[in-house]
Amino acid sequence: MSLLTLDHMKTDIGQYAVLHDVSLTVPEGGVFVLLGRNGAGKTTTLRSIMGLWNASPGSVKFRGQDITQLHTAEIAKLGIAYVPENMGIFGTLTVDENLVLAADKGRIDPVRLKRIHELFPALERFRDKKAWSLSGGQKQMLSVARAIMEPRELILIDEPTKGLAPAIVDSMGEAFREIGQDSTILLVEQNFNFARKLGRDMAVIDDGRVVHQGSMEAFAADTGLQDRLLGLAM
């Protein structure tokens, strides 16, 4: 069953058309990977789903409900979380304060917090530290932790491995695998080796258009297709 459907989505930023025609079906469960080179429109796709940029014409449907014109806050309340490329943490707040903001009515569920601390032990160690003082990897952990502070059906994650050390990338992969058991993850990623280990389904976007969609297994096995699309697109 499809969880999210993008239908001929077009997004303009100012006078520039960034997405020309994005049609995509994200099935429920697991990790869906969106691949593409810099400037292809991956981040714009995620931001348009979140309502941060207005997708028009075209539509975004979540569980069959048209959310194209909804306010970002209303989209978030439907159970969609967003981890932006710049991580979007609140540097002047502490780690715990960042998490409190993501908790329903400001009340942190201790069971969920325990799970988050198991996934990302650094966040327990530095819970009273200001978020700006964390390392890049810890900031990324905090950003992901905030997205799973409450049960979410869909988590949009934008290039989480960018600039991270290999050890952190591995632990992030483990965390995504575990999170993907409860939620669907729509992951934008340029690191194909990281993405192929996680993704069940995938799509490639180029010049504001989806140029391929299929299973990651088939894509990873088809070196010719990889050469053609990744050579063109990555």
Partner: protein
Amino acid sequence: MDRISEILGRMGGVNLLPVALAAVAFILIGAPSSWATLTVAGLAMGMMVFLMASGLSLVFGLMDVLNFGHSAFVSFGAFIAATVLAGLSTWLAADSVALNSAALVMAFLAAILFGLVAGWFFETVIIRPVYKDHLRQILITMGAMIVAEQTILAFWGGTPFTVLRPHFLEGSWIIGDVSIEIYRGFAFLLGLAVFVGLYLVMNRTRIGLLVRAGVENREMVEALGFRVDRLFIAVFMLGSGLAALGGAMWAGYETLITPALGSELMIIVFIVVIIGGLGSIEGTLLGAILVGLMSNYLGFLAPKMALASNMILMVAILLWRPNGLKPAV
């Protein structure tokens, strides 16, 4: 140099600036009683300016709105409070602290209420259509300021309006050689109470957490499920209410007010917001106290320099810290 900065940081960092300024002024002024009187006057002025500037700083920091019309709330607050006080002149003249206080509270409440309602109207009708467009914000809020000034002129006339003070706030406390005007002491205490209240709201409540997060990254707050536009209205109303209260306090301080009161004060208010750091309540307080002390000390030591003192202060601080003393982000 780093070591010195570290030691200063541990001792209080930029919070020490007013103390340092007071210490330098003590040496230059020479007479302790004059210094004490000027210091209290500077602190009182700083606290009144803080009332007016704190809301503007939040509006600037959170909403990225350049509101030159903020002065309208100051002016209206002053005139509305003065009118209520004039209407309750028999209460003010009575030898009863209860009646005096009741008149004062009613005047303040009327000013604040006006600020809240006018703030809601201003945000909804004037500001909302020009979000993210600084040039249009400047033009439209300057226009609103002119309209507000002319409205005051139409209602209250052009001749200076005399403001009555409650009987219990008249006179001075004499401590040794030092004379402290009671009204200034009251202004200081009221400003301090508002600061403590705002500080607690900003640092101990979920709303405060949201405002601080919103100052830093509005989009992310929305992506977490919060309607920042509704938060904006609340912050704008709060800022307008505080500006009106500041205007009401200033009216009692000056005792003679004109419709241009708000726009005259706006320069100081903007300087305070800029040197304090956008969106920061603590920074605004620090900036306001520095401006208040500097104005009073230089007004005594070098009266010809007094007008330029705040500009010099702003230039010096911005050269040292381009984002202000305590920016929220």
